[in-house]
Symmetry: C2
Amino acid sequence: MTESIVNAIRTIPELRAQLAARRAAGASVALVPTMGALHDGHCALIERAAAEHEIVVVSIFVNPPQFNDAADLANYPRNERRDIELAAGAGATFCFVPAVDEIYPSGAATSIHVSGRLTETLEGVERGASHFDGMATVVTALLNITAPQAAYFGAKDAQQALVVQRFVTDLHIATRIITVETVRDQEGLALSSRNARLSDEQREQALALSAALRLTAEMIAERRAQTPQQAIAAGLQHLTDCGLEPEYLSVTDAQTLAPASELRGELLIACAARLGEVRLIDNLTVNANREAATVQ
Amino acid sequence: MTESIVNAIRTIPELRAQLAARRAAGASVALVPTMGALHDGHCALIERAAAEHEIVVVSIFVNPPQFNDAADLANYPRNERRDIELAAGAGATFCFVPAVDEIYPSGAATSIHVSGRLTETLEGVERGASHFDGMATVVTALLNITAPQAAYFGAKDAQQALVVQRFVTDLHIATRIITVETVRDQEGLALSSRNARLSDEQREQALALSAALRLTAEMIAERRAQTPQQAIAAGLQHLTDCGLEPEYLSVTDAQTLAPASELRGELLIACAARLGEVRLIDNLTVNANREAATVQ
């Protein structure tokens, strides 16, 4: 049950007033936080949220503190009109499109930090600890502004979803965190706003990310690898064979991100690689316990 | 309009259920966060909260991360039965008395940091930056658990109140922060849970704190000091004359805590001093702009 969107909401008081009126009428509220540049991956989050809640707020906010690279921030694709149409089409009730100084008041000095492995490995290495601090701080602000029953995050950013679940648990934020499966194109490429920056040739090459992950997962699932290192080596080899510059390809515990010491339990296979100026990430999970291990 | 307390509430789900029922009936909720060892200063917060809200939650939680000194944590006075009676007498509806692992779930790794002068000066020097991180984190958790319309803090911890207002603003927490004037005994000593640890003789000496603040304030108000430094020197002299070991006596902007470069505007005069093993703080504000400057 959703309504059509007329306009973007730009201020916190207006969003709160709109939501208070709906809540008073008994509606439940979901939040889908985005940085815009919406694609079918975001639409899957919005559709799922709309299936489970009467009111869906899609926030569109490119958050400066979570970019460690000024060029990446400047080049991040923005197309507000198109984003709002896509969000509405997927079932959004409101698009919240605040300016930077609406989210960060004058003199803002607060940040949220999750310590330990969840933020220090994988994306935390290349993008810096401040990437996750910036993400955690803005997501907390958006949760406080919207006070949703549930918030939806993509499994493609698996580490981000784990960090969000961690601080939501620790700070007792009364919102359920829902992670939604990665959406891929027909050839297996995980949808990403950054894909728009790939040349046709790079787009072909980028297929190596999901292929390398599937290869690694299959080696684990079919017991062809005896150790995590063997499975990782095969995946990395595939990436470099295809001309990518891998940053990491890891096999870790899917909840703690501790490096897998053996091929047991729910494992996350994650990788990051560069194609020229574009940095892409992807991941799969595999349950190595089952009789016939399953890849997701 | 308050109700009598029967029992302490020890779990988050029970507190949330109780509050949800009252909210559904239209009640507004206030929070008074305390570390127990209640005195008339806390009771003044509770009474003010009860005058302005139907439901008053008093939390009693000695928060380990905000103690930099294990002995201070171990010696912090605890008397739950008495605290609950005092809170009920002052108008509390519920006392929330969680165990440490109710507030900090297994694997907790999240902290909130306010950067800059608000946390780096005065109490931030002696007690360390982690003191305010610990306070900010637990207050955020308590605000998220209780979701109050307003939360009440004592002006005696002036810097704490400024830090709370900063992160509540920055994180868009939908709670008004109310600061309530310091309660003093008949001789001017600011009430503090730590006063219980003073000997009779030390209690006499401790009067020098408020006396030194009044002296400093009067020198500003009556234009007897030409510079902040002159006023500060007089206050410090009084402390040492009375046998106290002053840690600091400062004259700063009352909002930013920037050291006052001239005697203008709303100024905070704050001091910390030791009497043997006990560390005490106190403060006054003075408006140096007015024709006849006023001390509060």
